[in-house]
Symmetry: C2
Subunit: 275 residues, 2 copies
């Protein structure tokens, strides 16, 4: 099992790369190929669009690579997602792709293109936790347990039928774009981090007003971390916000989900694409 | 000329209301009816949805009111916009509606419903400027000069054909919803405030990926105020971001526009609706 790591958004920290390689060496069940592009820096991004796209397409087309693991989120994968799935090779179709947060743009577009994708922890998560490698180590093992041996213990525990998971803001920003997948009958999990409650309410308006989203089987809310303070108390909380917009739009609210921008984040395989 | 003020989003500050009434008294060319709902408070909002909607529908249906002026932005008008335009009365059709920022949800939906709307300063803007009433007074006069006598000196100076103006985040969040108007052939002006450059780039991806937005005649960028700091320098600026996404999407970029979240904000009438 050879796993390639590329960074379609922001640069991977060196200490995260080293921590993950140490975990991989201790496990002995896979080989991790961290592409040098992961450490490029160009303003906000892990290198210019061209370099991030070239590295991604290189590992996608490499028949010796079994899985592509997105290094981290941040922002920027949307800038190269459409180009990444143009003229897909057979080698690209034979792999699993995993990540979350900003990588949701890729999960959406890749799934729509018929590739095998999963929401799950990323290499940069090695640095989560109180002392750098505390909880982060468990997140890395969870991701590798799915990548290497599809261990069902890594999965979000209440998944039904086809499922998808997205950061709410990322999902809101891919609606109506060429990356938008078919949500029909999907168990849709969302989570959020570092946003104001009013912005979450606004994103939920946008999301639940979409006819495409109204075709989900149900919507579930993962963790909402590091909520930014409102000038005045917003007046309600994230669960009430999501339940309210589901009720207004006729979407079944399925309660809370075990995903989030944290070391406890679980794996959500998107399953086969309908397209 | 009787102008009603209601607050579909957040509460109006008392000192802003007093300042605007003083300006109106000095002008002597109109009467300002500030609805008591403007001062309600319910968490983030100027009263619960029901109260904000009732006040808005009350002034819309009042034949003695010539114009409805939205008190301020913030967040929340999207929660009542669709209900506000249900079963429109003739009285509602005979008025002008003005505001900006979060009120863009109303401008979009009302324009789509065939009502006469304009982007322009709001009563809360009386408090802008160094000493509370400095530049804000000019903004209030500008708004009233349009509301009372359609003074062309108040207009954004380079408007062509049909025009629309929106806060970028508000516009992004109304795409694909029932509030989305017809953008065909429109001179589309956007502005932003208090966002990170990466979030502006992400919103521009969302915006310019929309087939509906690609039908505009051109896109122009107003002021982008109070940009939030990035962890690292983003690497480019707001003009380059917007020009880049226009180039990628085949939208004509028309340069900068004279609107923004500030006391210099100009008036942009949306003109007749195509629907």
């Amino acid at each position: 099992m050879r796993i390639a790591v590329v960074a379609p958004s922001c640069p991977l920290k060196r200490e995260a790369a080293e921590a993950v390689q140490a975990i991989v060496a201790a496990r002995g069940d896979c080989e991790l190929v961290i592409h040098p592009q992961c450490f490029l820096s160009d303003g906000h991004f892990a290198g210019p669009d061209e370099a991030r796209l070239a590295a991604l397409r290189e590992v996608m087309a490499d028949g010796s690579i079994d899985a592509v693991w997105f290094a981290r989120g941040g922002y920027g994968s949307n800038r190269i997602a459409e180009a990444a799935i143009a003229d897909l090779s057979d080698a690209a179709r034979g792999k699993l792709y995993m990540g979350y947060s900003d990588a949701g743009f890729l999960l959406a577009g890749f799934h729509k293109a018929g590739l095998d994708v999963a929401w799950g922890p990323m290499p940069q998560d090695a640095l989560r936790g109180g002392h750098g490698l505390g909880n982060g180590t468990a997140a890395i093992h969870r991701a590798l347990d799915w990548l290497v041996r599809r261990d069902p213990a890594t999965l979000e525990p209440a998944l039904e039928q086809r499922a998808m998971a997205f950061n709410l803001t990322v999902l809101s920003n891919l609606l109506g774009t060429p990356l938008e997948p078919d949500f029909s009958g999907v168990d849709l999990l969302i989570e959020e981090v570092s946003e104001h409650l009013y912005a979450i309410d606004r994103s939920m308006f946008h999301l639940t007003s979409s006819p495409a989203i109204r075709r989900v089987a149900r919507l579930r809310l993962g963790r909402v971390g590091d909520v930014l303070p409102n000038d005045v108390e917003f007046g309600t909380d994230e669960t009430a916000i999501v339940a309210d917009w589901c009720a207004r739009s006729g979407i079944a609210f399925g309660g809370r989900a075990d995903i989030g921008h944290d070391a406890q984040n679980r794996v959500v395989p998107f399953g086969p694409s309908k397209s």
